[in-house]
Amino acid sequence: MSHAATASDVKGLSHPLGVNNAKLCMWLFLCSEVMFFAGLIGSYIVLRLGSLTWPTPGEILNIPLTGVNTFILICSSVTMVKAFAWAHMGNQTKIKRHLFLTFLFGVIFLSIQAIEYYKLYHHHGLHPSGNLYGTCFYILTGFHGCHVLGGVIAVFVLWIRSLLGHFTKGRHAPVELVGLYWHFVDLVWIILFTIVYLI
């Protein structure tokens, strides 16, 4: 019978995808995050297509400012990759430096976003309530901002741990996991920047 045993059957099967538990879990978690943003972005597309009026790009939002902010977030992804690469090689000084830079870029991104919100709310009268454009703008970028905040906290914890010398050549899985999350948040921003600001 085809289901009977053969000698090759009993070899170990752990990690058939070549990915350990934590990394697999992170990838799966990011899948669910993709679906969360898909729900939001899908709703945004439906609402915008169904709306009779919509401001033209740049009419309300400050595209150059957010363009700079986008660049800063992309830079933070670069420093994150570097941090992981140095962790892989076990260079303590450079892990610390790049984790700190990533953290710093993240904070700058959030600060610029906060300034942007403040100006839009108080100077341009754009509120989340009462009008659909404000609703979509604040909630989409706001949910992303919360994700960046979570990432910034995680990177901060990594940085502290790197100061304590927790990451060695052989043991630096948290750097990779947070890195995956950080790149995902970055990628979502590029999509949001495109559909909320540029189009």
Partner: protein, 541 residues
Amino acid sequence: MKSFMHKYVFSTDHKMIGLQFLFTAFLFMLFGGLLAMAIRWQLAWPGTKLPVLGVIMPETYNVIFTMHGTFMIFFVVIAIMVGAFANFTVPLLIGAHDMAFPKINMASYWLFFISCVIMLASFFAPGGAAATGWTAYAPVSVKAPMGQSLWLISLIVLGVSSILGSLNYLTTIVNLRAPGMHFFRMPMTVWAIFITAILVLLATPVLTAALAMLLLDRVLDTTFFLAGTGQPVLWQHVFWFYSHPAVYIMILPAMGIASDVLSVFSRKPLFGYHAMVYALSAIAGLGFIVWAHHMFATGLNPTLGTTFMVATMFIAVPTGVKIFNWLGTLWGGSIHFSSAMLNAIAFVSMFVIGGLSGVFLAAASLDIYLHDTYFVVAHIHYVLFGGSLFGIFAGIYYWYPKMFGRMMNEKLGKIHFWLTFVFYNLTFFPMHIIGIHGMPRRFYDYKQYEFLRGLEPLQLLISISAFALFICQLPFVYNFFVNLFVGKKAPNNPWQANTLEWTIPSPAPHLNYAKVPIVYRWPYEYSLPHAKEDWLAQDQP
């Protein structure tokens, strides 16, 4: 005391967490059942005084059917399928010591618990609990009293709990299978939970996004679902994008359980094992592209409606494959009518009826008429009670010995089964008829309408059968709880089943396997022509 807390309350053992889900869900099953009794009381004798509650007012009636649906779907069926059974069975059936992340597993239960508390607390909110139906259609839900906000928060927390659970199941099934346990040697229960976990992982976040938007509409005055600026129908799209896959989240594990139970008690290999797996996957995949069949009555573009109709009807194909495979499994087997088996057979036959009425409802032109009538209520109960709940009963009768180390009483089990089966059909089958007659699903007092008055005899029949159905659960409650203490001690393998969990003592010890088992064969080696016994366990070379 400390060890008690560690063992039974803040446990990281997958079996204990599964039982925590099970017992919490039992409590909600009681609440949800009592609410159903109140609904049936009102429909049998509208406006008469009910013991304890008094006369049900229209606002209260709305709360009652909303919370009946919410409890039964989110806190009973999903909790038992994805919380209790998945937790209890997955590591045991694949030969693992525990879940990949025991602490995340514990967090999953405690988030579930918090969400239960919030949902129960909503009854005491000003204006009462949510009263907009379990579907919470906008814009009514945007303007509803505060209970609706608690309802939303509770379900967001529940969603996070489910996602954490599914991360654990998927990681565990992919990475922690025992040596030799290839994907195509996994029991159908594990396959079903694997595919269900993918559905939970990908569908639940969309519901979370929808719930968050609705909550923001309520507390921040955003305008996602508000008529005029936003789009109320958008709520239905995002809600059903989750809630249609959710139907499969509730039924696929039952399909897995039934497959295993049918094979064990017919002493025959599962018919069409590979086809079963592909059919499960097909149902799950199609489940993502059919959501708008719940929305034919919203003024959906008829061309679009037709595509959703056709896609929906396609689901009948893999479903048919499964049903014929179950019949093929039974065919020519030496069938043992144990309590678990009877419930599994009831699952198959009742699910056929629920599936067929689903095809009726999928036909857009017919659905325009049947939408929001009792026909829909009949359909959902044939799928969720006739399907999921009989599957749950089958699973409980089957794994009870491994859960508690004691046997349930077979005679009581059979009495419970037959009474439930008869009164279940007497309760829900006539709902098809009153639905076709035009009885709307959420009317407070149907007697105010001339054309519905003739339904009184059927309404009485349904209500009296429903009360009987409720009372008939007493033998089960007795059987379950009393045998925890006085039941006959269970041997390792009372059913002579092949899967790994039956090779270890009952109840399964902490960390399950003293030595990692090695798997040599698929789980369905029954009635082998030349074997000594009529079964051969998976760990036998």
